[in-house]
Symmetry: C2
Subunit: 445 residues, 2 copies
């Protein structure tokens, strides 16, 4: 396996299928964000050079049987994962490197000059938020001149949506995989409107982040600690029966989470004004659960890294410039290709010229069998934007089954007569099938 051939593979096959999002037209217009990409036709396979690439994925002396066995080990670890949401803590308390002016971002590694505009804007905002600079101009100068250091979230057991900023004082969800003892982190979803994950960095954005840090984070921490932790596997199972696929659509799991946490918040919150504000904030954001699901995905996949001979994908992510994946056998090595500019529908007045390639670590959800892989559970996602109907959604999940090595019996889809979500993307199958992994990216998160 070498970088160049996998680069080719990624370039030609791992383009991202985006699906639009419900009801955000206004927010998007006000932000100048163009609509998401919709591409329901995976490119046809059969390119003769792919056979060449497949052969390079297999190391000298490795047999198909060995690889299959390794992949079964990998999938067993995925299915055995027992993710529990246990706390919300300041990021620097679990990632001490952040204290040294480190800025974590979504996607594979990237330095300032190659970052897209929204990512640079978010970095400047985060520098301001941490008080490392007094105004945005100074923050931008600092970021551009080596005054801060950049690393991917994925290097620190973390993930983040869109720009994916994590800096030292930001509160992060802590999901513990109780089967393997590892933990993973993700920031708290900011909701709609102007937000840092889209590159926002003005006073409104920073004020909300301060409230997350000073009010929501500490209250959620107390409630989660008092609860003893909220098991996530069963919550996802319920959510799949309630129309969520946990990437574009999280209304069910957001509601189920609020149901679980509300009594604990009431028992532990010191005053009712903040309590009411916290409950209203969670209740007001259908995508609140997304970031919890992402931390869960990372907690499930981290133990799957570094299994010799396994061709299972352990991470997929984008930084707005590059798309990167990691494969189990090759551990923490990144395979990177440029993110293609999506061709899709735009709101009136916008065109491809206004668009930014997709960003974010959220494709960790597809890696664990949710998002585009669980589309059959969420016909509303396809139905709403007119890109298809319930049958289209079913077809999508079945297609994804062709590039996955197993089903997850604990995460069943009623519309598929309770078949489990396709689990464990095998890079060999992606190449062999001509199927693009369907990633439900969009503008919602």
């Amino acid at each position: 396996m070498n970088d160049t051939s996998v680069d080719n593979l990624l370039k030609s096959k791992l383009s991202v299928v985006n699906v639009g999002l419900e009801g955000f037209a206004q927010e998007l217009s006000s932000l100048g964000v163009p609509v998401a990409h919709v591409d329901w036709s995976p490119p046809a396979g059969g390119d003769p050079e792919l056979a060449n690439i497949v052969s390079q994925l297999i190391l000298p002396g490795e047999t198909t049987k060995q690889i299959d066995a390794a992949n079964q080990v990998a999938v067993r670890r995925m299915l055995d994962g027992d993710p529990v949401l246990i706390d919300v803590v300041p990021a620097e308390s679990v990632i001490p490197e952040l204290k040294d002016r480190l800025v974590l971002h979504a996607g594979p590694p990237i330095e300032w000059p190659r970052m897209c505009g929204p990512m640079q804007g978010a970095v400047s905002g985060a520098v301001m938020f941490e008080g490392w600079a007094n105004d945005l101009d100074a923050a931008t100068v600092m970021a551009a001149s080596g005054g801060v250091r950049f690393e991917p979230n994925h290097h620190f057991s973390a993930v983040g949506p869109m720009t994916g900023m994590i800096t030292c004082s930001m509160p992060v969800f802590v999901v513990e995989n109780r089967k393997f003892g590892n933990r993973a982190y993700c920031t708290i979803n900011e909701g709609l409107g102007k937000v840092m994950r889209f590159g926002g960095n003005d006073a409104e954005v920073l004020e909300r982040l301060a409230w997350l840090r000073d009010v929501l984070g500490p209250l959620l921490s107390q409630a989660l600690r008092a609860s003893g932790g909220i098991p996530l596997k069963s919550m996802i199972a319920r959510g799949l029966g309630m129309g969520d696929e946990m990437h574009q659509r999280n209304i069910a799991c957001t509601s189920l989470f609020l149901r679980e946490i509300a009594p604990w918040l009431a028992r532990t919150a010191p005053d009712s004004a903040n309590l009411a504000q916290v409950l209203a904030f969670i209740a007001g954001n259908d995508q609140f659960f997304l970031n919890i699901a992402m931390a869960m995905g990372k907690a499930i996949m981290d133990p799957v890294r570094g299994i010799p001979s396994s061709t299972i994908v352990t991470a997929m992510c984008r930084n707005g410039t590059d798309f990167g994946i990691r494969v189990s056998a090759t551990g923490d090595q990144w395979f990177v290709a440029p993110v293609e500019m999506p061709e899709g529908l735009y709101f009136p007045g916008y065109s491809e010229a206004d668009a930014n390639p997709d960003m974010g670590d959220s494709a960790i959800l597809e890696t664990i069998g949710l998002g585009g892989f669980a589309m059959a559970a969420a016909p509303a996602v396809v139905g709403f934007i007119g890109a298809g109907n319930a049958s289209t959604a079913v077809v999508y999940t079945k297609k994804m089954g062709e590039i996955a090595v197993a089903e997850n019996p604990e995460w069943a889809i009623p519309a598929l007569d309770f078949a489990g979500v396709p689990t464990g993307i095998d890079v060999r199958l992606v190449v062999g099938s001509g199927i693009t992994p369907a990633i439900n990216t969009g503008i919602a998160h």
Copy 2:
């Protein structure tokens, strides 16, 4: 139209299709309640005497065109309904007759001697609860000897699940139909375990009812008033996209309701201990929303009563002995037939001899297009008990479409490519089709 022929109609055609319920085996065993009936094969139509009955439904001089037009008026009123949950109040404050030792029950009119055991047990418990007798024996003697008066909930703009008890001090939800100005009422769901709606009447049952009256009711009242009311139509629309059909399955709407009300509860509750208890109570009962949905159903259907020539069913309900319906043109007249003993699956150790015919006003939900009519939205209801799969659920909704005169475009089902739920049961179509209205009754509510 005369009682005898409609009795025959009801006897032969309006038998109840029950669907089993998730996860309550233990609770049921402890209560000695047998499992619900499962019958997925509507009796075949074509009985020659039905033609005779159809002819009697039509008054002299009435044309099919007139009836069709009247039914369109009826359905228009249903679709125009704008139900909003506005308050929780003591029943006697909105139904003053209750102060005079009146006991309201589910189903069509019935007196003590013909009441089934669970209904009699519930009545005795309610008499105790109101302090009209000092012990259960005295309460039973009082109820059996004319010491209390009985009337159906439906006579007072009210509905209730199972035994459906409403007495003066019980708190009731108030749903206002803002299009027509009428209001409807339903008690608060007691949750699982020993409960009055199954005929329970011991100390545990009465203590819970007292807590509903003294704590939950007043706190919900304050929160609902502060909120300005919670519109229900849009909440149902979301619930249908989240696997609820609002009769057997209310987990989505219960969660959505909690999401809406939690911030208001936090703003208005005087102390956090009670607040936490209230949030935990609502969060702990997947069927909490059922009673709200039932009050909504009654609020939607009441303005549809008494439209000359309309053959639309305005109420269906059971008191454990009789099954009764009301039809628009005949206003508040009841058409009654015995409830058939369901033939179904029983838990080990139970048989038909232990069973009680179905009870409750909850079939008001099927009357407005939910429950069995919206089964396609809730494949989990059929899938869980092995009585079918997602396709079976779709077939059921489509069948119900054959006895309904319209679809509700605001209540769409993703699995049916966003077709609306079948709305407005036309008695003529029931007779003509040989289709039994599917009513998702069971032991859950």
